[in-house]
Amino acid sequence: MLKEALQQKLDYEELANCMRCGFCQPACPTFRETGYEAASPRGRIALMKAVADGVMEPDKDFVDQMNLCLGCRACEPVCPAGVPYGQLIEQTREAIEQEQDHPWYIRMARKTAFTHLFPHQRRLNRLGGLLGFYQRSGLQTAVRKLGVLNILPKQLKEMEAIMPDASSKGLSERMGATVIPAVGESKQRVGMFHGCIMDVLFQETNVNTVRLLAEAGYEVVIAPGQVCCGALHAHSGEREAARSLARKNIEAFQQAKVDLIISNAGGCGALLQEYDHLLHDDPDWHEQAKWFASRVKDVSEVLAPSVEPEAWDELPQRVTYQSSCHLRNGMKVTKEPVSLLQSIPGATYVALREGDRCCGSAGIYNLVQPEMSGNLLNEKMEHVKATQADILVTSNPGCLLQMKAGIKRAGLEDRMEAVHLVDLLARVSNQSEMSSK
């Protein structure tokens, strides 16, 4: 029964800590869209508490309302009482998932993705190889011409159109080593967390991250044995799977003996930083999880104080920044990406209005909640357009894909590109693949 599952999983102390002041509401994208109390963090917590208190049955409306939440966690920094809403929504989704009776094809798709694909980097890379073949063999062109894609929903079609070139090799294979020495004297030994999707679709960014870190004086270890961070699992109610991935990652980075663990994707970094919470009731792992969580940093936090922008190329362009929600609200990193952009010689940094608001990507949200996601993206692109920027910078792969799709949707492809922060920095500091060739 969903009710019992929720009662068992929800942290009642934290539900009770919500004092219902409502200060979360202006920060919540779904509340702003709807104006509906239930579609706000205060409302959702009240619904969770009503179920926990046995006042309400967790019916279909309840489940739908929980699924409408983006999980962007913009409500957390503005909460006076410090309620960890992100944890509450994940506990809720875990209970829902546990009790959910999916149709067979969804069950199969989830099983394929969550059990057979994401936890296995090799399989992902192999799939990347297939995708690369599809993209480069002319098959993609043929498929697009034949209109086969028209059977896909609009959002999926948009995503297919902006899918970056996939890679079939792993990061260390590509770099030719698992340890990349620091340029000059090594400040610290850092572990590169390469992620799963990142390493297939955005390997360029991973390569650039490693190079920038080495250039900034860090010895970089691409810890062997690391796997997907588990964020997609945790956000989709598969917390047990996330826990098992967490244990593997902790082991991998402990063996690599690193001082810091570097992530270049806000969505991954935020969960990596919460491994201690994820494994808080696992006595065998909790201490090690704390070791791990306390070492996780976003790449921008490490680069901001160590780069030397005087040596960078001039970039006579307008640059704006759409923050990753989990980088901002989860990892609480806000200043470093902006200060890095502002330090690029010749570039004009323009603040993006509501750049702290979710773009609607939110993991797989844009695929499962196309309407809300589409509304958020349209509003986002209005603000993006107003910046008249040449480059739209983000700090997470999901956001990057969504921004690329947004640029295409708004018809701005000719005058604007979406770029990961790291790739832009690599470009101006001549560390990128392209410039070193």
Binding site: R20, C21, G22, F23, L47, D61, P80, A81
Partner: protein, 471 residues
């Protein structure tokens, strides 16, 4: 319970998706920001026009269904908790700024506009709407008017009542009235505008408001003054006023609050001081500078142990952080935070703070006090846990004594939060039996069948006045 026929009547007025009676909606509109108050409505109705409000009221009147009007649900008196069930009428869809009139210096708004949006809209034109309740980022103007909200600028600029010039409202019989207008002078009959301000949704449903605007002050400056003794801080407040200076902001934090804030934010506040005053002035630059100097001198004369005048916007931000973080810091201490607003004449602040301290100690509770020293509006804030019934009982007794102490000092049980459910048992302490009778008479004249927000303002029984012998 409402019959299906009534439900479909309501649906026909506002449309299927704006008339909700599914469980989720009923739970979501069963509470506001008041701790420990919750009751389910029968239906949630979301009108978009005055005509729709009128039609909903007509249906309610015909079938004798209670209506609780709701804005953002950010009040602290239980004002929008539907204790009698019935209809929660939420006005968030009526959220248009109708007009900003720069000739008459007025803004005309629908009730669902957020207070902060009014600020931004008028300030963009060099104008100013001063009321700034703590919840202004979420609160709606309709709620502010219904509760006559205050805020940090009360001392110099007054509260919501001082800015409402005219109202459109739907009466419980379905008639629409318009009161006041874009008028600074209007003595045609009883002042219904002022009567509706602060009437807590018990007399009529406000559907439009004309608000007064003033020119926006060009300069703002702030400072902190810290004191080893509460008495000295209080004397500084009185001396500032006695020197004919009316600061734009005059806030205070007691030692308990300072310690909790410092613990939470680490902004370098000295935790051994008894009180901190946050003093701000706004206006023309040279006048502001002159006032700030004179205020600093007055604080000095009253033995302030440290004075910090902000000279840059960053420093000002730092100074403001102490006060802004008070609620957040306090509310992290325990699950339940009860924020009260006992208010006294400003000359009585020191004895009031002492009384709160004494009561807190006697009941063995954790109550910290901060608030608007300039207008005597204090926020004794109790950190507790609603699940601990024994403790909650002590909290209730302590607050009873705090209200009584405020009244003894010539003050009131509520300065800006309203009566609602939570203060209703104490209203008689402040206004007397005759006062209650005349208020009930007014209520009866507007709403003879008691349909609008029943169970608020007037308690079934008044509490017996606590008598405390304070030696």
């Amino acid at each position: 319970m409402l019959s299906d026929a009534i439900r479909s009547e309501l649906r026909a007025i506002v449309g299927e998706k704006n008339c909700l009676d599914r469980q989720e909606a009923l739970v979501a509109y069963s509470y506001d920001a008041t701790p420990m108050q919750q009751a389910l409505p029968d239906v949630v109705v979301m009108p978009q026009t005055t005509q729709e409000v009128q039609k909903v009221v007509q249906v309610a009147a015909r079938h004798q269904i209670p209506i609780v009007t709701r804005g953002a649900g950010s009040n602290l008196c239980g004002g929008t908790v539907p204790v009698g069930g019935g209809i929660v009428l939420t006005l968030h869809r009526m959220n248009q700024i109708v007009e900003i009139d720069e000739q008459n210096l007025t803004i005309t708004v629908q009730p669902g506009v957020r207070t902060v949006d009014i600020h931004q809209a008028v300030e963009a034109r060099g104008l100013f709407y001063p009321p700034d309740p703590g919840s202004m980022v979420i609160s709606t103007i309709g709620g502010n008017i219904a509760l006559n909200s205050g805020g940090l600028r009360g001392l110099k600029y007054g509260t919501t009542k001082d800015y409402v010039l005219g109202l459109e409202a739907v009466l419980p019989n379905g008639e629409v009235i318009r009161t006041g207008g874009k008028l600074m002078k209007d003595v045609a009959g009883y002042d219904l505008t002022k009567l509706l301000v602060g009437s807590e949704g018990t007399l009529a449903i406000i559907t439009e408001a004309i608000l007064k605007l003033i020119p926006k002050p060009t300069t703002q400056r702030v400072m902190l003054a810290m004191y080893a003794d509460m008495e000295q801080a209080a004397r500084s407040v009185s001396d500032i006023i006695a020197n004919r200076i009316i600061p734009g902001t005059l806030e205070f934090l007691d030692q308990g609050t300072i310690r909790v804030v410092e613990d939470f934010k680490q902004i370098g506040l000295p935790t051994d001081v008894a009180a901190i005053l946050l003093i701000g002035q706004d206006g023309e630059a040279e006048l502001v500078d002159r006032d700030m100097e004179r205020i600093a001198a007055i604080c000095q004369k009253n033995q302030a142990v440290q004075i910090k005048v902000a000279t840059t916007p960053e420093e000002a931000e730092e100074v403001m952080t102490a006060r802004r973080s008070a609620l957040a810091a306090l509310s992290r201490m325990r699950p339940t935070t009860i924020l009260e607003d006992a208010t006294v004449p400003r000359a009585q602040i020191a004895p009031m703070v002492a009384a709160i301290q004494e009561i807190t100690n006697r009941f063995g509770l954790n109550i910290c006090t901060f608030g608007h020293a300039g207008d005597g509006n204090l926020h004794p804030t109790c950190m507790t846990d609603a699940r601990n019934h024994e403790e909650i009982e002590r909290v209730e007794h302590a607050f009873e004594e705090i209200f009584a102490a405020a009244i003894d000092l010539g003050g009131t049980i509520t300065g800006e939060h309203g009566v609602g459910i939570v203060k209703a048992p104490y209203l008689e302490w402040k206004v007397g039996a005759a006062g209650i009778e005349v208020m009930k008479g007014i209520k009866h004249a507007f709403d003879p069948h008691n349909l609008l927000n029943p169970g608020k303002m007037f308690a079934k029984e008044s509490r017996n006045r606590v008598v405390v012998n304070r030696a």
